[in-house]
């Protein structure tokens, strides 16, 4: 990577971080609150993308891990005396464990079947959450989750989330650019070839799956601290669809794609939803536009890609 490029990337990264840090001081509380949600969801989306964009596995059930861990943390905080940070850590491991068990069956399948199987498992998790009334409150959900003093104000919670988000993004970056990450991408591109050189493709997939669900679990735990409440919908296939859309919208083959997608999706949800009742139609039209005009997501295109349309005559086809 050229030195120039590296400097510019660092510049941009620090710039964005600076803006994020100054956010609560510039904007009213509501936007800080919204930004928190965006950060949390982007951790979920980025972790999901390890499996989807980099691993090439179309998982349609990641909400099961996100929601399952969220419920675990909620139950621990409301029914036991476990300290908050410990509960969050347990949530991560719970997410990872679920991912290990479920992933074991799923990574053996390809494409469409993988999607359906992951969806089925997440529906089972949802069903358990919904039915186990004594533990999870059923459709009433769990409300009034106690939050420790150091993150009880909006500003403090925001910075807490921001620090965790930045840390996670850094970890993701290292994973993707490690030998493991490169192997994963190669697996996605050409499974047979990689297997020929002795790599056990299913095992690599399973590792990726578990790492992904570990961090999805973290996102879930943070979510229940932010919202102070959790409801069964969080593990529904609708939520799985949402995170999938964020990745595609932002660009699933770009590192920050899922994060960008999360920002856009949540902003849209909040803004469009307030002004019109016809949001499903608008959302549907948006997807169609993406499928036909922006399949690589909003970060997936360079200025060159777009201007090249005007330079069609150049070069030999």
């Amino acid at each position: 990577m050229s030195r120039n490029l590296a400097i510019r990337r660092w510049f941009w990264t620090f710039g964005v971080i600076l803006i994020m840090v100054l956010l609560p001081f510039i904007l009213p509380k509501f936007w800080t609150r919204l930004a928190m949600e965006i950060l949390c969801f982007s951790i979920f989306a980025m972790s999901y993308n390890i499996v989807m964009g980099y691993g090439g596995m179309l998982s349609f059930g990641h909400a099961g891990f996100y929601g399952g861990a969220s419920y675990l943390v909620a139950i621990l905080l409301t029914k036991t005396a476990v300290p908050t940070v410990v509960a969050l850590i347990l949530g991560c491991f719970f997410g990872g464990l679920l991912g290990l068990v479920i992933g074991f069956f799923c990574v053996q399948l390809r494409a469409f079947y993988l999607a359906i199987l992951t969806m089925a498992f997440s529906q089972l998790i949802w069903a358990v959450i919904f039915k186990w009334y004594d533990m999870t409150g059923g459709d009433n959900g769990i409300i009034g989750i106690p939050v420790p003093a150091f993150i009880s104000t909006i500003e403090n919670m925001y910075f807490f989330t921001l620090i965790i988000t930045i840390t996670c993004f850094y970890i993701f970056y290292r994973i993707i650019h490690s030998p493991f990450g490169l192997t994963l991408v190669s697996l996605r591109e050409n499974t047979q070839r990689i297997e020929f050189i002795g790599v056990n493709s299913n095992r690599y997939r399973l590792y990726a799956f578990t790492i992904s669900t570990f961090f999805s679990g973290l996102a879930g735990g943070i979510y229940c601290l932010i919202s102070r409440g959790v409801f069964p919908d969080i593990a529904s296939w609708g939520k799985s669809g949402e995170v999938l859309l964020c990745c595609v919208l932002g660009g699933m083959h770009k590192f920050f794609g899922p994060a960008a997608g999360s920002v856009l999706m949540i902003l849209l949800e909040n803004v469009v939803g307030s002004y019109t009742e016809r949001w499903p139609i608008i959302l549907g039209i948006l997807f169609i536009l993406i499928v036909f005009f922006l399949p690589r997501g909003i970060l997936g295109y360079n200025l060159k890609d777009i201007t090249s349309k005007f330079h069609r005559k150049e070069g030999i086809t």
Partner: protein, 413 residues
């Protein structure tokens, strides 16, 4: 790539700044801003849409008379899409961004609980019309939520009380498989032991939300030879149950009472021919009972304002909730939340539903408002099914006493 990103960043930043500038533009200090949260899409939409209408009619009524304290009432409406996390999000948006003074709502108990939490966190009063879970005002109750809905303790108890006078001895329960359904059946069982100790419940069937296929339940009840059905069927399950039982003639052999406040024209009309006579149902409002001036003028006003043919039950309920809030503000003489909350427990408001006045009791801030119960009868002339021999059962006799509420709260800690 960098240029593109920079452009995008500037765009997003610009949009954010633009949005902030709008926040500076206030609608003026004059109107009283009230956030209204209901389910306008998703599976409770049938209720939510009518809830909203009830609120709007109340607002128009009061605004036409000069508003409250000389100020206009302004609603900011949000749809929670039958999802609790959306409910929480829009509640926070209304409180933090739109800076509403009060909240009205909320179709569907889980969404109501979510909004209630927001109300408590930011100390904004929510006056609710629909939350039937006793937990909302007992274990999870607090100063910032008041409700005019009769809870499921009342509903289950009322059903048992009504069954006291009937000949049925062996019951089968068919209820929606969520907290509301379970609560009602539990309360029914408790009260049944008191009023009809020799009757028993032979079995229970639980119907998942939105279930369209009721035939297996129907055949199961037939096979059990029970002589009475305790139902808590709602929405599409309610309608399909009556449709699907017709060829089996279930309700020719077996009596039925159904909770869930389903006897409103929008639910009965589509199945007018399929629902047999004699099914006992409850509702929030009836056009010809009680035959009071208040009821008549309420109906006239509603129909004139909306141009519709009838008053949906949930609209009547929301109208009453709005009324309670407005009267409390009037009585307090200010829009300061704490003073309005204090005024709530001193209120006495007339209602179109009964001759007793609405009172909000202090311990849990739930009203004494009960519901109307009656039996179905098909009217050949109009082709509609209505409730006949209606009775109003007040909430006071059938819900938890204040002492019991205090006990429940103490146990929770």
């Amino acid at each position: 790539m960098k240029t593109k990103n920079m452009i995008r960043l500037i765009e997003i930043g610009g949009a954010l700044l633009l949005m902030t500038s709008f926040l500076g533009v206030s609608f003026g200090a004059e109107p009283i801003k009230i956030g209204v949260i209901h389910g306008l899409s998703g599976w409770v939409a049938a209720y939510g849409v009518n809830n909203l209408k009830g609120h709007e009619v109340a607002r128009d009524h009061y605004n036409a008379a000069g508003g409250i304290l000389g100020r206009r009432i302004q609603y900011i409406v949000r749809d929670h899409m039958s999802k609790s996390d959306v409910a929480r999000r829009v509640a926070e948006e209304l409180v933090l961004k739109e800076k509403v003074d009060f909240l009205l709502g909320v179709t569907m108990t889980p969404c109501g609980l979510a909004v209630s939490e927001v109300a408590r966190q930011y100390k904004i009063l929510l006056v609710d019309s629909n939350i039937k879970s006793p937990e909302a005002t007992e274990q999870f109750g607090h100063r910032y939520i008041a409700s005019v809905a009769a809870d499921s303790v009342y509903e289950g108890g009322a059903m048992a009380l009504l069954e006291k006078e009937t000949p049925s001895k062996t019951y089968w329960a068919i209820a929606m498989d969520y907290a509301y359904g379970h609560n009602i059946i539990d309360e029914f069982k408790k009260k049944l032991k008191e009023v009809k100790p020799d009757a028993k419940i032979m079995g229970e069937s639980w119907v998942k939300a939105g279930e369209t296929e009721l035939t297996p339940y129907i055949t199961k009840v037939l096979a059990s030879k029970a002589d009475g059905i305790i139902g808590v069927l709602m929405a599409i399950s309610f309608q399909n149950f009556f449709k699907q039982q017709a060829p089996y003639g279930l309700l020719n052999k077996v009596r039925m009472i159904n909770g869930g406040v389903m006897a409103s024209p929008e639910f009965l009309y589509p199945i007018a021919k399929e629902i047999p006579d004699g099914v006992v149902l409850n509702t929030w409002h009836l056009p010809d009972y009680p035959d009071t001036t208040i009821n008549k003028s309420f109906i006239k006003h509603y129909l004139d304002t909306t141009g519709e043919a009838y008053v949906p039950g949930s609209a009547a309920q929301s109208y009453i909730a709005s009324q309670v809030l407005f009267e409390a503000i009037k009585k307090a003489g200010t829009t300061e939340t704490e003073k309005v909350i204090d005024a709530l427990s001193t209120l006495e408001v007339d209602t179109p539903r009964s001759t007793e006045k609405i009172r909000i009791r202090k311990c849990d801030q739930r009203s004494n408002l009960g519901e109307l119960w009656g039996a179905t009868k098909y009217d050949r002339e109009t082709g509609q099914t209505k409730l006949v021999n209606p009775r109003y059962l007040s909430a006071d006799a059938l819900r938890h006493s204040c002492d019991e509420v205090m006990n429940i709260r103490a146990q929770k800690k």
